[in-house]
Symmetry: C2
Subunit: 680 residues, 2 copies
């Protein structure tokens, strides 16, 4: 290990610690904010308790899963323990556990702060939109700092201690496997409650969103936390770690690990600066504040990394790759904003088509979702192509480094991205608790405005996360090839090789089946919950009139049980299919399998996220008084579109990112095994 | 050209002529059947005139398009005329025109016979279900015999005269480019009318399907003919020619063209026998009669080809590849039947979920559609893999021949497949004209039963057509590589080559954008037609009561204009994107582009066809009295699902097959150009 590597790993550790200090500072800052009244306190506690109850039950299952995987790793990975080096197997297992634990911790911290911030942001809205914005944003920033700090510190520590890139892969697999289940479980929980609450409340009974008479309303707010906050935290933790792990594997071969840590630590530093600088001016719009913060962070990142490159003497072309990744992230975000933004043509067109009934709402939104894939896929493809060519210009072995540097560059400002992303569900929740605690219409107006800004910012952050996932899995493919060659095999992933093509076709089906399983889970559970809500309205006297309380806990329990039951099969299916294809067709089939997975995974993720976001905003567009407004037939059609879009954008769509990462990591971990043992 | 090649090409010509004789015999047989009454005659004439009007206007536009392409071919393909051999350019242009003309002819013949058969099948239903079945089936068989006969005769003629595989590609491109637009135009026409008629008639006014008061009802029936009959005919004509063209390119290099003609002509002979043997026994079910005919044809094909192989001394392993393709087609058909059959679990589940509203109908059907991709993709992948390995065992150069033989094998019994497929819209139309001419409930019951059998048989025939398209485009990829190497370049489609990967990502977006454009076309047009129907009901006195006639012609005109306007852009987009990617990235980018196209093309085609079929049958399941039956809330939800599914299964889904074929053929034609001129 060279001196620059040690220096930059240590710098990464120091900046991570700084981010923890910032997170702790913001945590305290949010916690000392006042809570309006006892009712608000009570509602907040219900949500908090529900979220932690789910988290505990989820983590218990995932703990069992992790224990089983640890045993398997000790026995078989990277080589059967009776063949290879038992020490390595054991280290891998420990590091795997470390990855899962940190990922779980990221989710835990997120829930802690989000369930504090929601009620405080609602309270602050009584004073001013600026104060409420700060409560929501700094709550999100705790999450952002904690997630990025732990992922960077974790990767630096594992690399410093073991100095073995393959073991960093195990760390990444730990993070990703937990993220996969957390995202799936949280996504099923949140949409079960959301759909059931909307269908019974808004559609059947005509009561407003977040009305306290609705038995599913607390479960819905719990869902925002376990799905959007904890799930998303685990997901971005995993993307970030996976990008670093792939880069370390590739960079280690050419002695460029120091550069990787330089870029990622400067990114975190830039994000720290960004979150401090983000604030809502007296006349500013919250969505401009969020996006403005992102752009400022990008600027700081560019300057800091340029300085680091010049001081440390890194290759300037690699720096260009990082910049390219960052810019591509912004551009992909802007195009997805075009398809989902409520001031753009697609949303207005879909809202207009709602007048002709729900079938047109669905067809139109789905078509725009399909169209939205083109710019993003071209963007990812071009970024990969150019960064590869830039890397190639540096020298042999640098080509894949170019791609993974672009991925790292795109994820560099992830601290800021997560802060923006976590802000969304916090202010959404603030709106919910404000309604339930009866804080009045002015507060609702402010929280509505803050919530809308969260939705807009989400388009850009989603662009970053899908783009980064695309580049990351391409570099993971490179890392897989590296490991296969390390295991003594020479392979070419030539598509004219029928084994590769077979892998491509089977791999292409995996994201489709995975998303279908998750959506069916949401389907099944929300039908159960709809029945329960009907039961409560029919059997609890005075509930309809608001003179008695519904049984919130029962609905939370249905969401929890359902999510716990459904979260394992889909993830397990993808992992098992990877192993089956690998042990049948060997590394060539897996190379194809990963390509097929990446291609349809990106397509479906883009389609589902963007169509879902589009339907959501078309509904809001109608609700704000267009084409007949609330209660009109157009509105009913728009609500149906939104309901279809819910599991698209919040359950299946964002989980696919993690799914393709997990499949790539499993392949890398089993690379040696696939080389040694395969049927054909 | 060796003697066996000449012999088998001539046998192919002779059997093609035999199929024309059979087609003419069936045509006369159908034509001499009686027509019940003057009203039926009149309705039949309205449909016939509408269909031919559309066809003429469509062919005029496509004639212009073909003329432009001819000029381009003369100037640039396969090489700029000032570089290469002008004679070859001119031959290619002529052969291209020949391909488009035969494809257009196939559509024309289909419409002629279908618009004769519909009224005669309706009349025959007054006598017995057996007679009505025969009228519908033999009408379909005219189409089947004519399409397969012309495609085989065309390919044999072009090959005999020019003896140049590259020129056969131009013939195939002629067939496919016309099919692409015919399929898109017909698909937009039919769904525009169908959706508008359903939404206004069934949903708003509560009048039955095919009620003569509905102004769109004739347009809807015209649509069945121009979309399902003419479009489908052109489509399968194109698949068949493309599979033969790809095989000829690959087989010419190893002297196996004779084998290709042996397989295809024995397939046509088996189909001729099959259509004569297919009949409905006094106690048989029509769907068993259709599927039974398919299985019998498969058996005859196996025996005939085995004899041909033994007599001519072809390699027995190639015969095994053909059998493998045929069996895989049946298996893929059976799996797609599982997802869409009205006696299977998915249909019942989706129908059940209709009780919870349209959002669940959509989510559930969409999820099953996603799941349905897995078995078909594995089936195509395995078939390609095994047939490649079998080919490889024969000797060098035979590996890709294995795959293309499997494609040829899967398409071998296409004469029978088309007969079954064209039967569907004919009896569907028979039902429509029977309702409009008031032939009574007993006739409607019989035609309903025949129609349902058509839907079930469609699942299997769709399995064949998607599976065959998959294998065909894989062999077209092989043919492209062959042509690139023929142009003096050495390329490997290695996915780790960023140019290949870039191509994959861009190619993956094309089928998505293509289907979105078609669906948006349907959307736009049917909204216009809904307005026109409202206008007629509001302004024509006595229309609602049935005392005056609607203006059918106006609706036919809207469908026609809309389809003509929308049919060019989507197809042109895919052709232009292929050229852009090729001239930017060269043959390697195109190799990737084709792979991306194939992968997402197959995925979307399977998803859309199967989800669409599933929603259609779920609606029928509800209508037959389940979960509240007609008029219930569940029924309304089911109708919305069906409306979403209509453009999925009849516009976008089946056009994707043709789209990926066209892209592959354009690539092959431009292969030399891409090798010579590309930016990077």
């Amino acid at each position: 290990m060279g001196t620059p590597e040690i220096i930059w790993s240590c710098i990464a550790l120091v900046i991570s610690i700084a981010s923890f200090v910032v997170a702790a500072y913001f945590y305290k800052w949010v916690k000392q904010l006042p809570v309006a009244n006892a009712r608000l306190e009570e509602v907040g506690k219900l949500i908090r308790d529900g979220a932690f109850t789910f988290l505990k039950r989820e983590y218990r299952i995932l703990g069992l899963f992790a224990a089983v995987v640890m045993v398997l790793i000790i026995l078989f990975f990277p080589e059967p323990i009776w063949h290879g080096n038992p020490g390595k197997n054991i280290t891998m297992a420990i590091v795997y556990l470390f990855g899962t634990s940190l990922s779980a911790l990221a989710g835990y911290v997120g829930i802690s702060i989000a369930t504090l911030s929601n009620v405080r942001a609602a309270t602050a809205a009584q004073e001013s939109i600026q104060k409420s914005f700060m409560a929501g944003f700094r709550g999100g920033a705790v999450m952002g700092m904690a997630v990025v700090g732990t992922s960077l510190a974790g990767a630096a520590l594992v690399y410093l201690v073991t100095q073995d890139p393959e073991i960093v892969m195990a760390f990444s697999f730990g993070a990703s496997s937990l993220a996969l289940f957390a995202k799936a479980g949280g996504g099923i929980f949140t949409k079960t409650a959301d759909i059931a609450a909307d269908l019974t409340g808004k559609v059947e009974l005509g009561i407003p969103e977040d009305d306290p008479r609705n038995p599913a309303v607390i479960a819905d707010n719990v869902g925002d936390n376990v799905g959007d906050v904890a799930g998303m935290g685990a997901d971005l933790f995993d993307s970030n770690v996976a990008a670093m792990a792939a880069t370390i594997v590739i960079a280690a071969a050419i002695g460029q690990v120091a550069f990787m840590f330089a870029i990622t630590s400067m990114g975190l530093l830039a994000s720290i600066a960004g979150v401090f600088l983000s604030r809502l001016g007296p006349k500013g719009s919250p969505s401009r504040a969020l996006n403005g913060g992102t752009y400022i962070t990008c600027g700081i990142f560019a300057v800091l990394t340029l300085i680091a490159v010049l001081i440390s003497g890194f290759n300037i072309l690699l720096w260009v790759c990082a910049m390219l990744g960052m810019v591509a992230g912004v551009i992909i975000g802007i195009t997805s904003d075009f398809f989902t933004g409520d001031d753009k043509k697609p949303v207005a067109k879909v809202a207009e088509s709602c007048q002709n009934g729900p079938a047109f709402t669905i067809l139109n939104g789905f078509s725009y979702g399909l169209l939205s894939c083109l710019p993003a896929l071209i963007g990812i493809g071009l970024t990969a192509l150019i960064s590869y060519k830039l890397g190639e210009a540096i020298g042999p072995g640098y080509a894949m480094m170019g791609i993974s540097t672009a991925a790292i560059g795109m994820l560099s400002i992830i601290g800021m991205i997560i802060s923006n992303d976590a802000y969304g569900p916090i202010v959404d929740n603030a709106r919910g608790v404000a309604e339930m605690a009866g804080l009045g219409d002015e507060v609702l107006e402010i929280t509505d405005e803050l919530d809308a800004a969260g939705n807009t910012a989400k388009a850009i952050t989603k662009g970053f996360s899908i783009g980064a996932a695309g580049l990351t899995v391409i570099s993971l493919l490179g890392a897989f090839l590296e490991l296969v060659e390390g295991a003594g095999a020479t392979v070419v992933f030539d598509v004219m090789n029928p084994m590769v093509f077979f892998g491509i076709l089977v791999g292409a089906a995996i994201p489709a089946v995975f998303s279908a399983m998750l959506m069916n889970g949401v389907n099944r559970n929300s039908q159960v919950m709809v029945k329960e809500i009907h039961r409560q309205f029919n059997s609890i006297p005075g509930l309809r009139e608001g003179t008695s309380q519904p049984d919130y806990a029962k609905c939370i329990d249905i969401s929890t049980r359902g999510a716990i039951r459904e979260l394992i099969p889909a993830g397990l299916f993808t992992i098992l299919m990877t192993l089956v294809v690998g042990f049948i067709g060997g590394p060539e089939a897996i190379g194809g399998f990963l390509v097929g997975n990446i291609v349809t995974g990106l397509l479906l993720a883009l389609l589902m996220s963007n169509a879902g976001g589009l339907w959501d905003n078309a509904k809001k567009f109608v609700e704000s008084g267009n084409f007949g407004g609330k209660g009109s037939d157009a509105h009913k059609a728009a609500v149906i579109g939104d309901t279809v879009g819910d599991p698209f954008k919040d359950t299946a769509g964002p989980s696919i990112n993690t799914q393709i990462t997990v499949v790539s990591l499993v392949s890398s971990l089993a690379a040696t095994l696939f080389v040694r043992f395969h049927l054909f």
